[in-house]
């Protein structure tokens, strides 16, 4: 590799300006990019206290000469580009020559490196961007950059950091993205000295498994057209997740965000996606660097295509083809699963209407219902309830008819139940005869550690079983049999989304749990189930709106119905 030099004034002006070090995760990203640009085959990321006390990246790449290492923390010092022409065809992840300068200005940095042309290593200590000490050290192939006390001297910046948990989550997201972007490298992540994750060089498929978890099966696409080489993994229709977390686009090894590409994929799925369902996709695009501009934003994660139309149509087309192709047909075991539907058998559900009725008498005294929607207005008998489209519960009330959305109704009930767990004794926990083993992705795992205590109080009994593997030993009583794994994964997904918006911890857990465990629209309910649902709904503090603010009950008055009929 060329040696480091300062960019000319002209070049400096051509480079998208702006701050790149906004949080520990961005430091990790820049350091890892440098390691990758140095041609490393092994990379270790160490983090302490969610990055504010230490972020350290060690690689086995080319290293720097003493001369270079003294220069590398200067602004606009880079070995990667020299002139305009280089800027038009960027082949490295870095090119701005600013990262080390910006990072070292707000931290205490130590760089230890050794270049193959030298028989001694160099160690440089910097504080607030100034070189404090230069030492000769024993040669060791590669480079270690440690960043300590990030923003310690800049309280204004430190104040903007989120909770340690959030910062750690961002860090893990960066790591996970980097792992996916360069699957052929040995990656190690160490958090607080112990929690280590080691990802050996693997096939891309295995790597995807490491990062995404084993829960979904993906369709593989490989196409080379118009000078582009595209390799992609996308989820089957119906296998989507509840957040956008598992959507990645890599262009020439760089993770990028591009609305137009996401849109291309989404529109290929079209109505194959349920409401609130997001496909999983990992796109690897290899293309001529001259046809894509990464010098758009200082973070280097936005790109502009010379021919956006072409790329858009291409991605959309190959996604559509794949979704139409034979790969979409689920595996045999999934077919057997589906086939069972003819055999739906509910041997153990004895209708309990009679017992419900006997409870009625008792409940009216102790727990009076809200006056405005009483089903019992002057009625002795239990009102008739109908379930329509396995989605709404319909009943006659004095003023007309009332329609209840079964899913949001149950959501409200469960939501309040969880919030109650926060204060008082939690609900029971059904032990499972066959505990369920779950292999989690890095993300899911770290979310789980974050909310495990809450999950336990709600009634999940989880046991750790080696790295990223948990065993579900018991579940809350509300969870339908057989569904334990999926519900837990969905809760983790959903929680991350909620939490991202800065909600209260318990509130976020309660919302996720309620949303994921509630009966779905499409589930058929027995009469006792419907009556019980309605009883419980009116025992909640707010029976009319679900935790997300959607209405639960809609009344249709007789006048309104009459009016429609032109009476």
């Amino acid at each position: 590799m060329a040696s480091i030099h300062l960019l000319s004034d002209l070049m400096m002006k051509r480079i998208a300006a702006g701050e790149v070090v906004e949080r520990p995760a961005s430091v990790a990203k820049e350091l890892i990019e440098n390691a990758l640009d140095a041609g490393s085959s092994r990379i270790l990321l160490r983090i302490e206290e969610s990055g504010v006390s230490l972020i350290e990246v060690t690689d086995d790449g080319n290293g720097m000469t003493e001369e270079d290492v003294l220069l590398c923390c200067r602004r606009h010092a880079t070995s990667k580009i020299r002139d305009e022409e280089d800027l038009e065809a960027i082949t490295t992840l870095g090119f701005r020559g600013e990262a080390l300068a910006s990072i070292s200005a707000v931290s205490r940095m130590v760089i230890t490196t050794c270049h193959q042309s030298e028989n001694e290593g160099t160690q440089v200590l910097l504080e607030s961007g100034e070189i404090r000490e230069v030492l000769k050290v024993a040669p060791r192939k590669g480079t270690t950059v440690s960043v300590r006390d990030l923003f310690a001297a800049v309280p204004a910046r430190r104040k903007f950091l989120k909770t340690p948990v959030t910062e750690l989550r961002h860090l893990i997201r960066v790591f996970r993205t980097m792992v996916l972007s360069h699957p052929k490298i040995d990656w190690t992540l160490q958090v607080n000295g112990d929690k280590t994750m080691h990802l050996l060089r693997n096939t891309l498929e295995e790597r995807l498994n490491d990062v995404l978890g084993d829960s979904r099966e993906l369709i593989h696409i490989h196409r080379s057209v118009s000078g582009l080489n595209i390799e992609a993994w996308i989820s089957r229709p119906g296998d989507g997740r509840k957040s956008r977390e598992n959507q990645f686009v890599f262009i020439n090894g760089r993770a990028v965000q591009n609305r137009s590409l996401s849109h291309a994929v989404l529109s290929a799925y079209g109505n194959r996606l349920g409401r609130g369902e997001y496909p999983v996709y990992i796109l690897y695009i290899e293309m001529d660097p001259r046809l894509v501009d990464v010098n758009v934003h200082p973070m280097k994660s936005e790109v502009r295509f010379q021919d956006e139309h072409l790329i858009y149509n291409l991605i959309r087309k190959i996604t559509e083809d794949a979704l139409r192709g034979p790969a979409v047909i689920p595996d045999l075991h999934l077919i057997t699963k589906k086939r069972g539907s003819n055999l739906r058998f509910r041997g153990n559900e004895t209708p309990r209407l009679s017992s419900q009725l006997s409870l009625e008498a008792q409940s009216t005294e102790t727990a009076p219902l809200p006056a405005s929607v009483s089903f019992r207005e002057g009625e002795k008998r239990f009102p008739e309830l109908w379930q329509i489209h396995n989605r709404y519960i319909l009943s006659q009330i004095k003023s007309g008819i009332t329609i209840i959305d079964q899913h949001v109704a149950h959501e409200r009930i469960l939501y309040e139940k969880v919030l109650a767990c926060k204060k008082s004794a939690p609900g029971g926990s059904q032990q499972l005869l066959f505990p369920q083993t779950l292999q989690l992705s890095i993300d899911d795992y770290s979310t789980l550690t974050e909310i495990n205590t809450a999950l336990e109080r709600i009634g999940f009994g989880l046991k750790e079983f080696g790295k990223q593997t948990v065993v579900i030993e018991s579940v809350p009583l509300d969870i339908r049999k057989g569904n334990e794994k999926d519900i837990l994964l969905d809760i983790l997904d959903d929680y991350r989304e909620n939490r991202g918006t800065g909600e209260d911890f318990w509130d976020a857990v309660a919302k996720s749990y309620a949303c994921k465990s509630a009966v779905k629209s499409g589930d058929s309910l027995t009469l006792p189930e419907m009556t019980s649902l309605i009883d419980q709904l009116f025992a909640t503090s707010e029976p009319y709106f679900c935790p997300h603010g959607r209405p639960i009950i809609v009344n249709l008055s007789l006048e309104e119905i009459d009016r429609r009929f032109g009476r």
Partner: protein, 376 residues
Amino acid sequence: MKFTILQNDLLEALQRISGVVPTRSTTPILENILFELDEEKLKITGTDLEISITTGVTPKKIEQTGSIALPARVITEMIRSLPAIPVQFELDETKRVRITTDQGYYQVAGISRNEFPDNPSLSEARSIELKNDLLRRMFSKTIFAVSSEELRPALMGVYMQIMPDEFRMVATDGHRLSKIIDSSFRFDEAGIQMIIPPKAVQIALKNLNEEGNIKLQLNQGGLCFIFDNTTLYTRLVEGEYPDYEKVIPRDNDKKMVVDRSLLMATVKRVSLFSSALTHQVRFSLSQNRLAVCSEDADIGGEAREELNVEYNDEPMELGYNAQYILDILKHVDDDKVVFTLKNPVRAAVVKPLSQKENESFMMLIMPIKLNSQEHQ
């Protein structure tokens, strides 16, 4: 095709197959019943592709053989509403069937026999002969525990294991399990195991005679029951049955013996006051006493009853789904039931105090961990 048959004979036959004919299917031909007439017998068949039943009935008079598929609902409803009189069926060249009684006629359009799915072939099937009463007993002691959830397909059936010197059946839904073994059984060939869908088990239970033997035919993926007049074919559930022996606890060291009908009545009453969604009840065990309690916070209901039991161990609080307890008690024949326990999160093993000769019958029930324990 032309024949005359007595209304009640035909109705009886139609009712034998009505359970399998889907009322609404994406394959409309399945909403039909196949009529096949030879020189001696009328055979009628209904199928949902998973299960098919063919049953034979003898008409009063056969004039011309033939076959046709007719809409199940209309035919069944019509025959049901007739009095016990002779009914004549006659098929014309345009595939219409005219059904004539002395009161009038009805005409329906039929569908060619060729469009009706063929009965699965049972060539290369293995034959097994079993005692009717044994099969009935084993089925009825297990079917209640079959899972109804599609997410774990292998659990959606009764697991039948025929071994050289014993005959077993097991069913579980992951919350409870039932296992019955007949050890007087002998079988000369290599062992066989299969997972039978519950719907087929239920139909078989209806058709099994009190005594005598029944022949089963088994091939790749399918099982056929050959009853007197009726054959029932079912596809078997695919997949591997979980290793149930592994989850049966062997070191439960605390024992409670209780009167079956007393406990059943108690749980039934107390559970009326438990939540209709969770059916949770609590067992408080102490020296020779069991208290069964429930509460439903949502409606402010609460109940508690005490009964005498035999129990000589430390006090324990256990949570159960009352429905599961009732299901289990229902299937014990003995007056006394034995619960063996270990702790509040371990499966309880439930058995009759005295087993039938050559039989070993046990059930498992997973408890509900109670909230109070978390704070102890």
